[in-house]
C-alpha cells in the first residue's frame, strides 16, 4: 500500500492527472478532517481541501522527497487554514455564540461526560486558540508523534508537549463552562 502510494506520487509528480486523482482519493479524508477540525465549517473546509490539492498539483514537481508528501500536504493545509481563519475570525466568533446548543447525554457519570453533555467537543474546540487546536488535531486525529509535529510545525519538542497539554486543559475548561 505504502509502495503503491509512493509510486502514485512519483507518477503524479510527472504530471499524470489520473495518478493525481488517485492521490486526492487517498488523502482527501485526512486533509478534509484536518481542515474541518481547524475551521469547524464544512463549506470552508471543502474549499480549503480543494485549494490545498490544487496547490499540491502545481507544487508537486518541486517536492524533493516523495516520502515527505503527507507532512508537506499537512503543512499546506495548516497554512491555508491559518489564512482562512484570519479572514473568518470575526464571522466565526459571532457564529460560535449562536452555535452553543446543549446536547444532553443520558446517565453521564464522570465530570468530562457531564460537561460533554453541556457542550460538544467541536463547539469547545472552536473556543481554543488555533495554534493549540492544530497540535491537538495533529496528535489526536492525524496520529503524528510529538517529534513529527515538532518537525512539521518547526517548533521545539518542549513547545509541542506544553501546547498539547495547554490545549487539553483549555478544552476541558471550555467543556466545564458549558
Amino acid at each position: 500500500m505504502v509502495n503503491d502510494l509512493h509510486q502514485i506520487i512519483i507518477e503524479a509528480k510527472k504530471g499524470d492527472q489520473n495518478a493525481f486523482r488517485q492521490l486526492v482519493t487517498a488523502y482527501k479524508g485526512t486533509v478534509f478532517r484536518h481542515a474541518f477540525s481547524l475551521l469547524n465549517d464544512r463549506m470552508e473546509a471543502e474549499d480549503v481541501t480543494q485549494e490545498a490539492f490544487v496547490k499540491a498539483y502545481y507544487s508537486l514537481p518541486k517536492l524533493e522527497n516523495e516520502f515527505a508528501f503527507v507532512s508537506w500536504l499537512t503543512r499546506v493545509v495548516t497554512n491555508l487554514c491559518y489564512d482562512k481563519n484570519k479572514k473568518l475570525n470575526k464571522k466565526k466568533l459571532a457564529e460560535s455564540e449562536e452555535l452553543i446548543e446543549n446536547v444532553r447525554m443520558p446517565n453521564a457519570s464522570s465530570p468530562i461526560e457531564q460537561s460533554i453533555a453541556k457542550m460538544t467537543i467541536k463547539e469547545a474546540m472552536e473556543k481554543i486558540p488555533l495554534e493549540q487546536k492544530n497540535v491537538l488535531i495533529l496528535r489526536e486525529i492525524q496520529g503524528y508523534s510529538y517529534s513529527e509535529i515538532s518537525e512539521l510545525l518547526q517548533i521545539p519538542l518542549g513547545t509541542v508537549k506544553s501546547r498539547i497539554n495547554t490545549a487539553r486543559e483549555n478544552l476541558r475548561k471550555e467543556l466545564e463552562k458549558g
Partner: protein
C-alpha cells in the same frame, strides 16, 4: 513520588510520549493516587471523544471531481492568458512595422534614431576622454565592477535557496 503528576507529564503519558523511567513512576503513582487516576481517566475520555467526534465527519464524495475541475480550469485560464498575450504582441508588432514602413513615421523614426546615436557617440567619447585623464581610474572601475558581480552572485544564491525552502514548505501557490 508523593506529589501529584504534572499535567504536561500526564498528557505526554496518555500520548505514549514518556520514556520507560517516567512511565514506571507515573504508573506507580496512578496506582496509589485517586486524584491523579481520575485526571488520567478524564483525559483519556477526552482523547477518545475528540477522535470519535472527527472520525465521524462525512468526507465529501465528489472531492476528486471538484479538484480536477479546478485544475483543468486553471490550466485553460493560463493557456488562454498566454495566447492573449502572444496575440497582442503579434498585433502590436505588425502595427508598428506597418506604420514605420508606410507612413511619415519612417522618416521621423530615422531622424530620432540618428540624433540619439550621435548623442550616445558624443557621450562615449567624452567619458573615455575623462577616464583616460585620471590615473588608475580604469583599474578602480574594474575592481568595483568585480565586487558588484560577486555581490550579485551571493544575493542570487541566497534568493534561490530561500525560494527553494519556501516552495518546499508549500507556501508558493
Amino acid at each position: 513520588m508523593s506529589e501529584h503528576i504534572s499535567g504536561e507529564l500526564l498528557s505526554s503519558y496518555i500520548d505514549d510520549e514518556t520514556d520507560e523511567d517516567e512511565k514506571a513512576i507515573i504508573e506507580r503513582h496512578l496506582g496509589i493516587c485517586l486524584d491523579c487516576h481520575n485526571e488520567f481517566v478524564n483525559l483519556t475520555l477526552l482523547k477518545e471523544q475528540i477522535l470519535k467526534e472527527y472520525l465521524m465527519v462525512d468526507i465529501p464524495v465528489s472531492m476528486e471531481d471538484h479538484v480536477m475541475a479546478k485544475i483543468q480550469q486553471s490550466i485553460s485560464q493560463k493557456s488562454s492568458s498566454f495566447i492573449n498575450h502572444a496575440a497582442i504582441f503579434v498585433v502590436l508588432s505588425f502595427a508598428l512595422v506597418g506604420m514605420g514602413a508606410t507612413g511619415p513615421f519612417l522618416s521621423i523614426g530615422l531622424h530620432i534614431f540618428n540624433t540619439l546615436f550621435s548623442i550616445a557617440g558624443g557621450l562615449m567619447y567624452a567619458i573615455t576622454s575623462i577616464l583616460s585623464a585620471i590615473p588608475y581610474m580604469v583599474e578602480a572601475i574594474s575592481a568595483v565592477i568585480f565586487i558588484l558581480i560577486v555581490l550579485a552572485i551571493f544575493i542570487l544564491r541566497y534568493l534561490v535557496n530561500t525560494l527553494a525552502k519556501t516552495v518546499e514548505a508549500g507556501d508558493i501557490s
